[in-house]
């Protein structure tokens, strides 16, 4: 059953890539949301109305930095779709992705 071998080999690679990008990026995204919320500070409600919490610029900056990483990941996905359509593929042998002809 050579097909089973190929399938299991492929499945492991897909699973690892899927976990890294499919679970990893949303996790970074969630961390970004948490950072933004932390950066905005905690609002409190008291007799004089709603008091905005103390801003934490570090949290806001970290939040947007994390979003930027996620956006880069999405752009990588987009590049892959477009490039493979035009006969190129992404090559990860230099760690950073480069485009090579198929």
């Amino acid at each position: 059953m050579h097909n089973l071998d190929f399938a299991l080999t492929g499945a492991w690679q897909v699973l690892l890539a899927g976990l890294a990008l499919g679970a990893g990026l949303p996790i970074l995204f969630a961390l970004g949301i948490r950072s933004l919320a932390w950066g905005a500070g905690e609002a409190s409600v008291n007799t004089s109305g709603v008091t905005a919490g103390t801003k934490r610029p570090l949290g806001t900056a970290l939040g947007y930095a994390l979003f930027a990483v996620v956006v880069l990941g999405v752009l990588l996905g987009l590049t892959f779709i477009v490039a493979s359509g035009f006969g190129y593929k992404l090559d990860f042998s230099h760690i950073y992705p480069t485009l090579v002809e198929k």
């Binding site: 050579h2 097909n3 089973l4 190929f6 399938a7 492929g10 499945a11 690679q13 897909v14 699973l15 890539a17 899927g18 976990l19 890294a20 990008l21 499919g22 679970a23 990026l25 949303p26 996790i27 995204f29 969630a30 961390l31 970004g32 949301i33 948490r34 933004l36 919320a37 905005a40 999405v74 996905g77 987009l78 892959f80 779709i81 477009v82 493979s84 359509g85 035009f86 006969g87 593929k89 992404l90």
Partner: protein, 403 residues
């Protein structure tokens, strides 16, 4: 002209492929109200259209995965062209009809099933009837993942598991991270996360699935002697296939969207983000590694996974079980229809045979459309769609999702 019937039928298949698979990309976004239903299908339709044009690769050898009617270069086998190609055209026509009928039936039942597997099933059935057991590529030649086993059966089992694991992990960790964060941050953030990831799935779908129809139509053109370039696809084929899949996506298979978005589990925005990102990553990674997975199976696996990963969420296994059953019988069922159509077409013979097959398709499609009308599912009005879908026994959710 048998060729004209084949082209029309192939575009019809492309159309059903579109509306059958809208749910894969957009069901979660619609269920969590990240996007209004009509906006979601419009966005998905446009991205499918763009995706279909993005790819210049020629998918002429698409049928080689399961049947042996073409050689490696994509040209039809010479021995099949002895009769001017009409025998080959009948096989393609019968196979396409098998795929369409199964797509429509599963849509009527609100079940997400793989359009590619339906097409492959129809082709296998028609080839079995027309050329016998030897005409089918069961297990490939041992050099790569190929054949009915390698391209259909194994991926069907493996892909939902992979996607499910990714979505479970993603969902579980996301909920740990965002526990206690104010809703105004999570709601808005994950809304964009969902829209982005759903858009990627739509685009990838357009590049993959429209190619299959383009390949089949071009094969028919070559078989009948109307095209001889193995490197390119006629522009009108490209444009019409892209438009057919985009239009189908825009119309939206609301019954399937409801099952996937509401039926399996109750999805919240973080789950939707995790499910859709997992699906996008698995689809892209698998196509990068040449390990063809069905978008439908991946999307469904992700949604189930996101239901398992959220603390306190429940998965309706009865619904999931019905889907798995549908996946198991997709190939043989579409194959049976394809084979039956081939026998009918062959018995009547020639042009009349093809016409009879086409008439049967129109009759079956019309019957199923009328049946869907009696279930009060109106494709023009989204609110009515959600109300009407209440006739489905598997989805005891009030129509609160309509907005």
């Amino acid at each position: 002209m048998i060729l004209a019937l084949v082209v029309i039928t192939a575009l019809a298949f492309d159309f059903t492929n579109g509306f059958h698979d809208t749910a894969n990309a957009m069901a979660t976004s619609i269920a969590t109200k990240a996007l209004r239903p009509k906006t979601a299908v419009a966005l998905s339709g446009v991205l499918n259209l763009v995706g279909a044009f993005l790819s210049v690769e020629v998918a002429l050898t698409v049928t080689n995965a399961v049947v042996k009617i073409q050689d490696k270069s994509g040209a039809p086998k010479a021995e099949l062209l002895a009769d001017g190609g009409s025998g080959l055209l009948l096989i393609i026509l019968a196979g396409l009809v098998g795929g369409i009928v199964w797509n429509l039936l599963t849509w009527l039942l609100g079940l997400p099933s793989s359009s590619s597997h339906a097409l492959f099933g129809g082709l296998v059935g028609a080839t079995l009837a027309g050329l016998g057991v030897a005409g089918v590529n069961w297990n490939g030649d041992g050099s790569k993942l190929d054949g009915v086993v390698g391209k259909v059966l194994l991926p069907a089992v493996i892909s939902p598991v992979i996607a499910g694991v990714v979505a479970v992990v993603g969902t579980w960790i996301i909920f740990k991270i965002t526990a206690g964060v104010a809703a105004r941050f999570t709601e808005k953030g994950f809304r964009w996360g969902q829209i982005g990831s759903a858009s990627l799935v739509s685009l990838a779908h357009g590049t993959n699935d429209a190619q299959k129809t383009m390949g089949v139509i071009t094969l028919a053109l070559i078989a009948s002697g109307h095209w001889d370039d193995l490197e390119n696809i006629p522009l009108w084929v490209k444009v019409s296939a892209a438009l057919a899949i985009a239009l189908g996506t825009y119309l939206g298979g609301w019954r399937i969207i409801r099952t996937l978005g509401k039926g399996i589990t109750d999805i919240t925005p973080p789950q939707g983000t995790a499910a859709q990102s997992g699906a996008a990553a698995v689809i892209l990674a698998s196509s990068h590694l040449g390990f063809a997975l069905s978008t439908t199976h991946v999307a469904t696996g992700s949604v189930i996974g996101s239901g398992l990963g959220r603390p306190g969420a429940t998965v309706r296994w009865a619904v999931a079980g019905r889907m798995v059953l549908a996946w198991l019988i997709t190939l043989p069922s579409a194959g049976l229809v394809g084979a039956a159509m081939w026998y009918v077409g062959d018995a009547v013979g020639g042009m009349a045979g093809a016409l009879v097959v086409f008439a049967l398709l129109v009759a079956a499609s019309g019957a199923m459309y009328l049946r869907s009308r009696s279930g009060k599912v109106d494709h023009e009005n989204v609110n009515d769609d959600w109300d009407g879908a209440a006739v489905q026994p598997v989805t005891p959710i009030p129509a609160a999702a309509a907005n």
